[in-house]
Symmetry: C2
Subunit: 322 residues, 2 copies
């Protein structure tokens, strides 16, 4: 069965029913309420989301495009859907925002298999609900290839959002968690035909705790790759010498990379889609262990910011689209 | 020059500069401030938008896809960009929300002409700024065809948003403005190769006034076509007999349709992209003239809601995607 065998409105109704099932499942779980901040969901001209007094709205859009960011041959539709949501929510984590909801622009050819469509929708709905950001609206359109355009909305106390700006010479650079697992999974899928199963997690709770940390200067999520995102954080006039022993490698990355004849460090520095938080602190920083305890995640210190140009530059490393 | 001749980051910087020029132009004009509700714009992990205490956030996403919703052969890139924004803002109008800002997911092939890219961006930036909803973020990705995925954000006093729900037998149905001009322009472009120049306007101010009107029951914008959107508003158990003399035809629609051998009424009822507001009132309605004065737009009464099935049904008329 293909999309063209149902109508646009039947497909939307299909997603609405799947969303209701997902909300029902969520209502039996601990964690954010099934509807979260959503006061009007799928099916009207716009969705409505509640914010608290004194909060600003954070909004970001990201996309996964067939044969650019994913291949149906390498990965289950459900996995693709989950990754699309994670990529968006990670931007909210980097701002220190709490998630409110998501809207999704889905484009697909009329020949798309209905099972794939259902899988994409199920993956997006489940991952969004899991993080308290239910999918509350969307748009469905015909196109030559399949793509998912996810807009995430969050809320953050006015003036308290973390931004990329403000880092100076002498600030310390930290990163949460470990790097390279998404890149390894991608290389293994492309070169060995291995199924992509790894879904990184958005560091939402750590981001909210980080935003309240004394001395916090700036934050970004590692989406393009450590080197490229460091370039975004430091700008053209600051630099950081990346010492290999300080870069935290994800589980299995060292061995996996060597089996493929690749440099694990290169994979960790330029791979991307890690969705860890990269941030700078000023003043007397807490010990890495104390910081880890505070954020609820392992934290590594990457070094001290210096004057000079670049950790490779923002354009020279990481993922280029054009 | 093509997109592939610049990098992703150069293209984003190009849009940022264009956005600054647009904001600068707007700051010299009357109307909403140049930055509006945007407290952090393009260039960070997320944008930040201010809402007032007691407001909810309205959000909606819409898309224009090359060769589905537009053709570069028929229309200037600037016109396409403007239409993409109007389509999104019209959803805010239908909720009675005031616009806060927009984020845009732009997908394009690396071979896209840079002039077209600039035109699309300029059209979107100008139209968004004009309505007090500056583009505050976006995403740029490679794809096989060009598409614009626009998410609009608005704010509305809690519990005051208009929805599509609630219409009953006996309610009166009204529509603002006039219908058919977009449909005529599209047919003329497709069949006669005439350039598409018509850009409908989102009824934002009328929507906000309508939301405060005593007796207002439900509202939707006419995007799929009068007959289809009436179907959305009335649902499966209500009907409205559309009397031809009551359907307001846009300027030039009657003559233009006849020149093409088409039925003007059919064009007005199933054409779509009119972006007028279609709404229901209960109780003693004001006279059409008083209503028009109150909303700042002409208003036509289409008739009384009856029990029964349909003004054509929601699936049988209007625009189908699959």
């Amino acid at each position: 069965m293909q999309l063209r065998d149902l109508g646009e409105f039947s497909l939307i109704a299909r997603i609405e029913r799947a969303a209701q099932r997902e909300a029902h499942r969520a209502s039996g779980r601990r964690g954010p309420g099934a509807r979260g901040a959503v006061s009007l969901g799928i099916g009207d001209d716009a969705a409505l989301l509640r914010v608290r007094s004194g909060e600003e709205v954070a909004v970001s859009v990201d996309a996964l495009v067939e044969d650019v960011h994913f291949r149906f041959a390498n990965e289950s539709p459900r996995n693709i859907g989950r990754r699309a949501i994670v990529s968006g929510l990670s931007d909210l984590a980097a701002m220190g925002a709490r998630p409110l909801g998501c809207v999704v622009g889905l484009a697909a050819p009329p020949s798309l298999d209905l099972g794939r469509f259902d899988g994409l929708a199920a993956g997006m709905l489940a991952e969004a609900q899991l993080h308290g950001a239910p999918i509350c609206g969307g748009n469905l359109t015909r196109a030559r290839e399949t793509s998912l355009h996810v807009t995430v909305l969050g809320a953050v106390a006015r003036g308290r959002a973390m931004t990329r700006a403000g880092t100076r010479v002498g600030d310390l650079v930290f990163v949460t968690g470990a790097l390279g697992r998404s890149a390894l999974a991608r290389v293994r899928a492309e070169h060995l035909g291995a199924r992509m199963r790894h879904v990184p997690q958005p560091r939402l709770e750590a981001g909210r705790r980080l935003a309240r940390l004394p001395g916090l200067v700036a934050c970004i999520d590692v989406s393009d790759g450590l080197r490229a995102d460091l370039g975004h954080l430091l700008g053209p006039d600051l630099a950081l010498e990346l010492e290999p022993r300080r870069v935290p490698l994800g589980r299995g990355v060292a061995a996996g990379a060597r089996r493929l004849g690749l440099d694990p460090l290169e994979l960790a520095c330029s791979g991307g889609e890690d969705y860890e938080l990269l941030f700078t602190l000023r003043g007397r920083p807490p010990a890495a262990e104390a910081l880890a305890k505070r954020l609820g995640l392992p934290v590594s210190c990457l070094g001290v910011v210096e004057a000079g140009s670049g950790a490779g530059g923002s354009e020279s490393a990481g993922w280029r689209h054009f």
